[in-house]
Symmetry: C2
Subunit: 198 residues, 2 copies
Amino acid sequence: MKVSRERAAENRERVLDVASRLFREKGIDGIGVANLMKEAGLTHGGFYGSFASKAALAAEACERAGEQSVRRWRRIIDGARERGEDPYVALVKAYLCVAHRDNPGRGCMFTTLAAEAPRQEPELREALNANLHGLLELLVEVAPGADTAAREARAQITLSTMVGALMLARTMPDAAQSENLLATARASLIAEHGGEVR
Amino acid sequence: MKVSRERAAENRERVLDVASRLFREKGIDGIGVANLMKEAGLTHGGFYGSFASKAALAAEACERAGEQSVRRWRRIIDGARERGEDPYVALVKAYLCVAHRDNPGRGCMFTTLAAEAPRQEPELREALNANLHGLLELLVEVAPGADTAAREARAQITLSTMVGALMLARTMPDAAQSENLLATARASLIAEHGGEVR
DNA sequence: ATTATCTATAGATCTATAGATAATGC
DNA sequence: ATTATCTATAGATCTATAGATAATGC
């Protein structure tokens, strides 16, 4: 049951897309090649025609997830500017929301894969590091602060707070408490806007 | 080769201690019962005399890690007060340091196990939630803020920032950048002390 | 006699590969 | 003829259990 070259390329893309979601949802050790391929509508053995190994797929899936993440942040920034809104506030609101908390498979890699990254291949760790610098760069562009140094510091702190708050919000079984934590972090980061706390 | 009842209890404790370290270092799926027992100086089969299952061990190891973490924070707070230092500042400095970054096996569970907790048994998730509330309680006690509500908010934000910053610091392969991020987060949280930013 | 621990193994799962199959693309 | 995908399987590893062993503790 061979398919056209074009269809084969589509299949490879679909495997990558499924992998980037399932690795975030279940962890890299939490999903096997066979089940991953089944989810993409293909069989186990076909995998090794498109990828050298599971580790190579994981690294490529993380690269892709990181690039998508940066593009998404870019769109949020541009969209906010077009509407005359503050892009920093828009980013914080988009990150610290219930939909992001409840969809780890499509969300920020740091909250789902950073803890296991040190045990993975260098290529995967590099993908995470590239994503980290990509997001920090965008944050420096929009973060409040008098000079570049202040904005760089603000970017690091904001990303740290957002990553931590999302993870803690996912830890809380009580929905009201979880939403309260998200709201508190959101309010605090947005209050920093303009460089002073009211 | 049977051992005394007392020695058997010691052995069980050692397995728990090894597990609480190795699970944090390698993830719960990252270390098997056989290797874990070998690390504790026992054989694979002996495990099931002390624990009902690997999942039961994981939950108990997390409970223990959480309790140790809370006791450690308590000691830092009490020690700082005895020396006339600010306990909030002492906690932030102890958490956001290079030694903690480089020793995930003995450090905060949220940075190592929170991402895989949703896929584990309810008992383990409950252990993480209990730890979260235990640490927040201590932070509310020492955090800056005019009233209880302000201190509760400050506690949630500080813990979020610390957890996120430690994870991002572990992601950076460049040691100088990583230490810079830790220092920035530390300075920012400590600057909040007293309730205002200078 | 009881029981903590050991050896050995069943059964499941996982990554990767070998060889077969059948449709594409020259 | 080439090649994308499939079936089948090798070899490793993992959890859990069964039965043996030997020291403890009545």
